[in-house]
């Protein structure tokens, strides 16, 4: 086993996923200590084109695998291809994004080569020469820091949008094409098509992010301001009872005691005072951001982050700032 790091470049829809640059950032951090090199492997239909995206990132090599049988994802096909590269390069660490593909593929390959795997990590650092991964457990109520033992190849899947993406750092990357020799009939489960999710916002009770408006919305048509932000975040739009009673929003999206009980990761309360009836509906939200003109509004007791001001001034700026970083 070498001191190297292998980064899995996931290709979806012909495009290299953004998380790959975050993986490279983590790999750099690891190899700074281990002294090893960073290689990447990109598998899939448009692998070669996708690989262009990480050419100037100081990687030692990028292996492009474009077997026809690998055009659509299959655990076994990709595991065989990745397994071959692992055998050839024998890295100490293999990094993948904790995406649908990464989470499906990594443990299988880890099992294949008798390694060890840490899933869904939010941070990776080196501690006394070993890689330590931090990951949430118990649905994120607690975190553990875990390190590999026994000198095995360590697979780490990293949650997208947690680590900073690496920036370009120089050329000299060798791009190699490899034919994995995977045939269609060796694959027993394969993706045949991808059906894009029908447009439209998630249901407020299912949404991970909710942008909610209160009486301060003043008019039904003003909800478009919130809708723009919601669409950007793939969020649902909610409303307080005051807004619904005033006719600015439908009862179906009312959050609160007499409306829906919601449990998102992020709840953005715009112009909502925070009466107990409303809090009863969203109090388990992981992160609450409150925007209100009144610095004494009860919502600020419950929120994690607050900003005093006019929502009509703040929300558009918020939308723009988020658009910039997404």
């Amino acid at each position: 086993m070498t001191n190297d790091c292998l980064v899995f470049g996931e290709v979806r829809g012909g495009v290299l996923k953004k998380v790959t640059k975050e993986l490279i950032g983590a790999a750099r951090h690891i190899t700074e200590t281990t002294g090893g090199a960073i290689d990447a492997v990109v598998i899939g239909g448009a692998a070669a084109a996708a690989a262009e995206g990480i050419k100037g990132y100081g990687l030692r090599s990028i292996t492009v695998i474009e077997d026809e049988a690998l055009a659509m994802y299959s655990t076994e096909g990709y595991a065989k291809a990745l397994g071959d590269i692992l055998e050839a390069k024998s890295p100490a660490y293999v990094l993948l994004g904790a995406t649908a593909m990464g989470r499906d593929l990594a443990p299988r390959v880890a099992a294949k080569i008798d390694g060890v795997m840490f899933s869904d990590c939010v941070d990776v650092r080196m501690e006394e020469g070993t890689c330590v991964a931090r990951r949430p457990v118990y649905s994120g109520k607690v975190f553990i820091e875990i390190a590999p033992e026994g000198g095995r190849t360590t697979f780490i899947t990293i949650r997208p949008n947690n680590l900073p993406p690496a920036g370009p750092s120089g050329d000299g990357t060798e791009v190699v094409t490899y034919a994995a020799g995977v045939t269609r009939d060796a694959i027993r489960a394969i993706a045949t098509e991808i059906v894009p999710v029908a447009g439209g916002r998630p249901d407020v009770t299912e949404a991970d992010v909710i942008v909610s408006g209160g009486r301060a919305m003043k008019e039904r048509s003003n909800f478009t301001v919130l809708e723009e932000l919601a669409d950007l975040l793939g969020a649902a739009v909610g409303a307080s009872r005051a807004a619904v009673d005033a006719g600015y929003a439908d009862h179906a999206i009312q959050v609160g005691q007499t409306g829906k009980i919601v449990n998102p990761k992020l709840y953005i309360a715009c112009g909502i005072s925070g009466a107990i009836q409303h809090l009863a509906g969203m109090r388990t939200s992981k992160v609450i951001v409150a925007i209100n003109k009144d610095p004494n509004a009860p919502i600020f007791e419950k929120a994690h982050y607050g900003i005093v001001g006019d929502l009509f001034e703040i929300v558009p700026i918020l939308t723009e700032e988020i658009r910039k970083i997404l």
């Binding site: 099992a111 795997m117 607690v142 949008n161 489960a189 059906v195 992981k286 918020l318 970083i325």
Partner: protein, 291 residues
């Protein structure tokens, strides 16, 4: 019938039979569903005094919610294929797990295997998978369903490792499952970013289940009474032919960290509104990590 040899995690070679590929339409299916005993999602999780794990006193334990979808799917397939098929629950857990197993039997599963051994407490995924693999080979299987992850360790690895050990195909985070007429294959939809991926898989296979696959039924009162008479076979490591817990020693938890305490609301202020908003966005991304 093809025979392939596979190295097991304990180093010994085992002869493993692959699917015999010839199902008559009426042939009953052997469905295996995995089950894990985990703390309730609503439980308050605190780190114990020694910092070596969580405090288990006063916690309510339940069937891993994702495993309920697995049991339900197994039961629905059994009902759809004429009722001759069987659903066997396989659970690796402490003796308290019998209550969870009994609940799955009350839902309608036929029998169960309970792997219970003090050496398996807090076992790593590879160990759990190696032990489960052997128990599942013993029961025999056509389809294995399990939850996409256990809500205690959130590892989401068992199904993949098992698939490799049993040399079968896998599909993760299934949101729909359709058995073919001849029962030799299935079309499974799984949730990926921005859409649903349709997978065609041969059987036998292992399917990890995601919320939305089905609506798990309640354990009916008659079901609870019938469950008392159903068999739960208890197995120790020795019963499964292991001298010690296999495949361990791959990782070490260095420390347990609580969530940073939610303090008072962080009021963000700045000269310019734009700067305050920029700061909120930065906090949401870097500190709260929600966007």
């Amino acid at each position: 019938m093809t025979v392939r040899s596979t190295a097991c995690m304990d180093g010994r070679t085992a002869l493993q039979r692959t699917s015999h590929g010839g199902y008559r339409k009426e042939e009953p299916l052997k469905i295996v569903t995995l089950l894990k005993r985990v703390p309730d999602t609503e439980a308050r999780i605190l780190i114990n005094q020694e910092g070596t794990g969580i405090r288990e006193e006063d916690i309510k334990f339940v069937i891993n919610p994702y495993d309920e979808y697995a049991v339900e799917e197994g039961l629905q397939i059994k009902e759809r294929t004429g009722g001759d098929s069987t659903v066997t629950v396989v659970c690796l857990g402490p003796k308290e797990a019998t209550e969870m197993i009994r609940t799955a039997l009350a839902m309608g599963a036929d029998d169960a295997v309970h792997i219970c051994d003090p050496a398996l407490v807090n076992s790593e995924p590879f160990t759990a998978a190696a032990v489960l693999a052997r128990a599942i080979r013993e029961t025999g299987f056509d389809i294995i369903f399990c939850g996409k992850q256990a809500i205690d360790d959130d590892m989401a690895q068992i199904h993949s490792i098992l698939a490799e050990m049993l040399d079968i195909p896998q599909v993760s985070v299934a949101i729909s499952f359709e058995l073919s007429e001849d029962r030799r294959s299935a079309v499974v939809s799984r949730r990926i970013e921005g859409g649903d991926e349709k997978i065609e898989t041969q059987l036998p296979a292992i399917i990890s289940c995601e919320k939305g696959l089905n609506e798990p039924r309640y354990a009916s009162l008659p079901g609870i009474m019938k469950a008392k008479r159903k068999e739960i076979r208890t197995k120790t490591l020795a019963d499964l032919g292991f001298d010690a817990a296999p495949g361990g020693g791959r990782s070490r938890i260095l420390r347990w960290l609580p969530l940073p305490k939610g303090g008072a609301c962080r009021m963000v202020e700045a000269e310019e509104t734009g700067d305050a908003v920029k700061e909120i966005v930065r906090l949401l991304r870097e500190e709260a990590k929600v966007i």
